[in-house]
């Protein structure tokens, strides 16, 4: 195994190095210098992100356990960008007094989980997949419980860790049956030996249940809202965009590569769950008053849309999912960024706190509006393109009725997104949130997100670039 081959893991390697740098900084900095850990971590991660962008060859190493190609690299880059935005947004939050003693941990855990996601996406066998999945999940529970002073945070932590343990247990049962019926854990061997006996189908269903948990698909979604609400805002945004996108990527890859012959089964399952998820996500989102919880349910509905891209099993769907994930990251991070900025300054997280926000903080309101429009899929912001292409992908395989149900649901979602817009722009408020100046980190992150929201849709090269490397069944 040559050095070049090892370099195929460049993304994970640079992340490990970044992690070690943070660790070292944590160890060697003390006293007043401790705050330096924040810029060091963000800087190190930024460099890692940039390095990961350089083109790299495709390849398979470790006997097929790790494989990389341009598409997976794109997926990882998408995640990196999102995490970078979160890191930038996190800077003011971590500097606050109550977080004083835990700065590096946040970065360490997130980078570690990101490495796990990297392994997961690049996995060539179920073992690496499983380990990546767990690496990406278990430490995040600690992050959810990061606000140790708060009951809700602790509750979020326990709900996340126990639910995810249960889900991975069920997923593992499925994996064990996959192994038992095929004799291998390598993707290509499993795919070759795959039949459609009840046991194998049961295994696939159990496997999918575990993934649905990560994707927050109804009825495996219940943890989502509670955890999102209880966790610190940035952790919530991390959970809602990064880990969800990563899970969607690998879920799609495994379905396409390992279980193409079971397409009838998983199509049916996805069909049913897409409808339930979008509908229920929307219905639950309507009544939410807490912004984080509201975005949680909206993200459940969004997950349902992601399934639309998967269900067709075609290359266009894969492109659409990756593309949508990128847009979704920008949109959701913009929304969460505003929520975080307001929450950091005022501690307010409820929708009616936002009444009249436009008159006092027009820029934040505009960012929020663009983000929500993007989530709702309204042109010319990118969300429109994302959703349109997802629908097209599903339609390509003939799922017109499903698409129809989904688009009708977008109306419900538009309703609740507009509720927030209404609060900010229309509602009158005696005591609106006073004007405040966001710090530069927040601003950079928000500007970057808004640029992303606008550019990703209009600039077709991004779509074309992803599309060039996508594959279907």
């Amino acid at each position: 195994m040559s050095f070049e081959q090892v370099l195929l893991m460049r993304n994970e390697l640079v992340l490990v190095i970044a992690m070690l740098i943070v660790l070292a900084a944590e160890i060697f900095l003390s006293g007043n210098n401790r705050k330096l850990v924040i810029p060091i971590a963000v800087g190190a991660f930024a460099i890692a992100t940039i390095i990961a962008w350089f083109p790299q060859p495709e390849g398979v190493i470790f006997g097929g356990m790790y494989q990389t190609d341009t598409l997976r690299q794109i997926m990882k880059n998408v995640l990196n960008i999102g995490v970078l935005l979160i890191f930038i947004q996190s800077m003011p939050w971590l500097r606050k007094p109550e977080q004083n003693f835990q700065m590096s941990e946040f970065y360490l855990i997130i980078i570690a989980t990101l490495i796990g996601m990297g392994f997961m996406i690049s996995s060539g066998d179920f073992l690496m997949f499983y380990l990546g999945l767990e690496t990406a999940t278990i430490p995040v529970a600690a992050l959810a419980a990061y606000d140790k002073g708060k009951r809700k945070s602790a509750e979020a932590g326990i709900k996340l860790i126990l639910s995810s343990a249960l889900s991975s247990g069920i997923l593992l049962y499925g994996l064990s049956m996959i192994y038992g019926t095929t004799g291998s854990i390598y993707f290509h061997e499993v795919a070759n030996a795959w039949g459609n006996t009840p046991l194998q189908m049961l295994a696939v269903v159990f496997f999918m249940s575990g993934m649905f948990f990560k994707l927050s698909i109804v009825p495996f979604h219940f943890w989502t809202a509670d955890v999102y609400e209880g966790a610190p805002v940035l952790v919530t945004s991390y959970l809602s965009v990064i880990s969800k996108a990563a899970a969607a990527f690998i879920f799609m890859i495994i379905l396409f590569k390992v279980f193409p012959t079971s397409i009838e089964l998983w199509k049916n399952v996805l069909y049913a769950l897409t409808i339930i998820t979008i509908t229920l996500g929307n219905i639950f989102a309507i009544r939410q008053k807490n912004m984080k919880r509201f975005l949680a349910f909206s993200s459940i509905a969004q997950a349902g849309f992601i399934l639309l891209g998967i269900i067709g099993g075609n290359a266009m769907g894969m492109t659409a999912v990756v593309y949508f994930a990128l847009i979704y990251i920008f949109s959701n991070l913009a929304a969460f960024g505003v929520v975080a900025a307001i929450s950091n300054v005022t501690g307010k997280e409820y929708m009616n706190d936002y009444d009249g926000l436009y008159r006092t903080n027009p820029k934040l309101s505009l960012v929020m509006m663009l983000a929500l429009f993007s989530l709702a899929g309204i042109p010319p912001v990118a969300g429109f393109f994302g959703k349109f292409f997802l629908f097209m992908a599903a339609a390509k395989s003939g799922y017109y009725i499903l698409v129809l149900i989904a688009v009708i649901n977008t109306i419900v979602s538009l309703y609740y997104y507009l509720l927030v817009v209404k609060a900010m722009f229309v509602n009158k408020n005696e005591h609106p949130i006073a004007w405040f100046k966001s710090d530069w980190a927040t601003r950079i992150a928000l500007i970057a997100s808004v640029l992303g929201i606008i550019a990703v849709g209009l600039i077709s090269h991004i779509w074309e670039y992803i599309n060039a490397f996508s594959f279907g069944i």
Partner: protein, 105 residues
């Protein structure tokens, strides 16, 4: 050593154990006992892996190693979970899962 014991008997044991774990997870209100139920689940899965390996695919060690890694993950998971449980205990003065339901609807 395994002569005379059918594969399916192992699987029956592990499957029942799996669902006992799930049952426990659903009914035991104590957070620690819920964690214990998780351990039952993982353990049953391990049995599956190992038995499949031994009976059907003895020429390699996928199931065997998978079990080892699952055990390691289980340990990590338990560590984090217990840390959080203790945290919950501090906040709620209880480790009853039904108490930890500030967030709902």
């Amino acid at each position: 050593m395994i002569a005379g014991i059918p594969l399916t008997h192992f699987l029956i044991v592990s499957t029942i154990m799996f669902f006992i774990g799930i049952y426990g997870f659903m009914v035991r209100k104590n957070l620690i006992t819920m964690l214990m139920s998780i351990e039952l689940i993982l353990n049953s899965v391990n049995i599956n892996f190992v038995v499949f390996n031994k009976y059907l695919y003895p020429h390699q060690l996928h199931g065997h190693f998978f079990s080892i890694f699952v055990i390691a993950v289980a340990a990590a998971e338990a560590a984090v979970a217990i840390a959080i449980i203790i945290n919950v205990y501090r906040r709620f003065n209880s480790i009853d899962v039904e108490q930890a339901s500030d967030m709902k609807y």
